[in-house]
Amino acid sequence: MSLPSSDTTVDPPGPLRPGADVAVRLRNVTKLYPGTVALDDVSMSVRRGTIHALLGGNGSGKSTAVKVLAGVVSAEPGGVVELGETVVDAAAVTPRVARAAGLRFVHQDLGVFAELSVADNLSIGHGYATTGIRCIDHRAVHSRAERLIAKYHIDGAPDTPLHRLSPSARALVAIARALEQDEDPESPSADGILVLDEPTAALPTDEANRLYTSLSRLVAGGTTAILISHRLDEVLEHTDTVTVLRDGRHVSTASTRGLTKTALAEQIAGRTVRSPDRVARTAAEVPRLRLSDVGGAKLRGVSLTVDAGEIVGIAGLVGSGRSSLLRTVFGVEDRSTGRILLDGEEVDTRSGPAAMMRDGVAFLPEDRATMANFADLTIRENLLAASVRRYWSGGRMRTSRERRDARALVTRFGIKAPDVDLPMSSLSGGNQQKVLLARWLSRDPRLLLLDEPSQGVDVGARADIYRMIREAAALGAAVLVTASEFDELATFCDRVLILRSGSVVSETTEPDVQTLTAAVYDDPADHPATETTP
């Protein structure tokens, strides 16, 4: 295993002239937090007019680097930050300096107002055009919005409420708002430097592609984009240069052309990320889970089986019913027809999750933050949230036993948590996800339903999560799992079912990315890109 040593900087070809060619340069920037070196002598540069990806696992320092650029946190003195012609000490960057140098930030949650119109969203922050007596000049606001909609190719009208736009159009509104905050709409803000924090994290693939198309158009016009993303496929396809940080150190900067996903993953994780070998298996006589002709609000006659120890993937677009399927089996969504059998015995999902849990079913929902996390409760309480009763005896909660078991889970699943009595919100996203998975694995489930278990976590944590799931399967659990990234399904599942419009249309026992992509996008009538507004 050969890993690039730290600080191997491979600049894109051609000499860089400061100011003209370089949009952003960090030289020997260090940032210390008590007990942690968040940035360790990092040097990197971003060429003007390119899309530059900033990659790294949780805790790699990429967020800190962005915060230093934004002037939100100040680095240790001695480092140098160059923003175009502005050259300042790394400790002296302030939000004002960053703004003046043309840096604009779009955060992951976009910070847009879903209930307000496109025009309102574009005016807030920039300021509304007003008439003589300080009333809103609706005509001016409207026409400015129209100009920006045309310029940024936003798929909507000035009066469209933002929640009616597609996700990529919403992101474009946020980008337009950031870049045009104080510019004259007539003269394009060509030398702006856009920093995007995981803009596609919540987008399905085709929406993400649309956003990248728009981004390329902006970059062709002279804008520079610095992009944080966990999705390596997108990075490889759409960016010009890639910088990898790990443990606060600069690992590499290289032209995207010629990079492979495996190489990137290894640089990010700092170790080989192995995809597990598929084990040949024979179908059991009585499957662990059998669905026959299950129908509901979003399901149309789904039939499938999953054996004990088997990992079955579900591939499908957003709206294909993949989440509904899992939620229906767990008893969260109602089912109108069909039968569900666990080890040959019919179960009544209508009695809800508690009854399904008694039957040994576990469910990890897709939206971790709102559907699974108890952010303000402790790690211990989160780990044991599905097993509270186990610790109640003699009229008391046996907290010391809880603490012991929670610590054992933390050790067993390699969760990076200094103390199980710290709040859940103190953990990184990847470790939170591991906690939520451990919550269910600690119950030794017969059937594990996982909706996007690796969403929003970095490459290293992703590998850990898949190892946890594999171990559970090896111990005899049947696993039904969805994932938007087909290569995950391909490397990780024994079988993959293709779900479309609420029914299983095909199945592959030798899943690979090409087959899955082709199968999922097979029917153009289902392609969400052809829909206008949701």
């Binding site: 942690t36 800190t64 108890f374 409760l377 309480e381 949230a385 509270v388 109640w392 008391r396 012991r404």
Partner: protein
């Protein structure tokens, strides 16, 4: 990187990491946070013991017994409001419920000639029923808890005024019942023989049973709670029913204590009860309402007020002191929580 300087994991023999040892400063600050209110209460007591104006009077058994006996009603109302609050639902009705229960107890005896046990049972059941209606409206129709319980409060207050014609019921109440509210057994107010077992039960239920954990899970995220198998609506409704029953009992004891049922008495306990809950939420288990904290909050305010009046302070002074105490406690708690958060959110 989530390691911090103050947390140093140590090893144990069985390979499971031991409790991380915190350094002295962190431990002191945690101790101060949890027991700060108790320490201040202790300091106030010491001050009263040595101050000329209070030293001879405050620590007399007569004063202490009165002080204890007077807190029974407000404490029960506070615990009644705290139960839904633990589940994330603001309940503004326990004051009005106590008022209605107080009038109902008196009316059952005076106007309908019912025996004492029946009157008590009716009043408590009335409180539980109002709680059920609140909980039902909130969970079934998704109404806002604060608006629903505010509406219920106004409605109950109006009903009370209608029944008593704006006055009070002071005749026809069982004399033994009134004696129970005002006299002592072995130097201890008889009401405490009701209060203490209830507090112990509430402590077991809220701090030491799965039910208490379930309420916390609801407060943190109702969606996530449903997906770990909790029946969110049933738990929410039960919290309102329990809270209503406790407020109903508070009303019964209010009538016993004062020997009459005044239609304005009950609702006036709401703000003091919530002040105690939130004062208590800054100590013992900082960051969330908790039973021992609420008890502490009630007595902190009571001791402060009692001493101040002995010192001859003006009528406005106790209120100002209470307000300042609540603001200071909330300010310190928020500051400490933010500092904790800033440390742990570090990358």
């Amino acid at each position: 990187m989530s390691s911090t300087t103050r947390l140093q994991p140590s090893e144990t023999t069985d390979g499971v990491p031991a409790v991380p040892k915190r350094d002295g400063r962190a431990r002191v600050s945690e101790f101060l946070e949890r027991f700060g209110l108790l320490l201040v209460l202790g300091l106030v007591l010491v001050f009263y013991a040595f101050s000329d104006a209070t030293s001879g009077v405050f620590f007399t058994s007569a004063n202490l017994v009165t002080l204890l006996g007077n807190q029974v009603v407000v404490l029960l109302i506070a615990v009644g409001g705290m139960i839904p609050l633990l589940g994330g639902y603001f309940d503004l009705s326990p004051g009005a419920i106590a008022g209605v229960a107080s009038v109902a107890t008196a009316a059952a005896m005076a106007d309908f000639g019912l025996p004492v046990p029946v009157a008590i049972a009716l009043a408590v059941a009335l409180g539980a029923a109002v709680g059920f209606v609140n909980g039902f409206l909130i969970t079934r129709y998704g109404l806002s808890a604060i608006i629903t319980t505010l509406g219920m409060s106004l409605l109950l207050t109006g009903a009370m005024l209608l029944y008593t014609s704006g006055g009070s019921i002071s005749t026809g109440i069982d004399q033994d019942f009134i004696a129970f509210g005002s006299l002592n057994w072995a130097g201890v107010p008889r009401l405490l023989f009701v209060l203490v077992p209830i507090l112990v039960l509430a402590w077991l239920l809220l701090e030491n049973s799965p039910y208490g954990r379930y309420l916390q899970a609801l407060r943190s995220s109702r969606d996530a709670a449903a997906l770990v198998g909790l029946n969110v609506n049933r738990i929410a409704v039960s919290s309102f029913v329990l809270g209503g029953a406790l407020a109903g009992l508070a009303g019964v004891l209010l009538t016993a204590r004062s020997g009459a049922a005044d239609s304005t008495a009950g609702p006036s306990f709401l703000f003091p009860a919530y002040a105690a809950i939130f004062l208590g939420a800054t100590s013992i288990r900082p960051g969330r309402p908790n039973l021992l904290g609420t008890v502490l909050g009630v007595f902190f305010v009571a001791v402060l007020v009692s001493g101040l009046s002995l010192l001859g302070a003006a009528v406005w002074a106790p209120s100002v002191f209470n307000g300042v105490a609540l603001l200071v406690a909330a300010g310190i708690a928020t500051y400490l929580a933010r500092r904790r958060g800033a440390r742990s959110m570090m990358h």
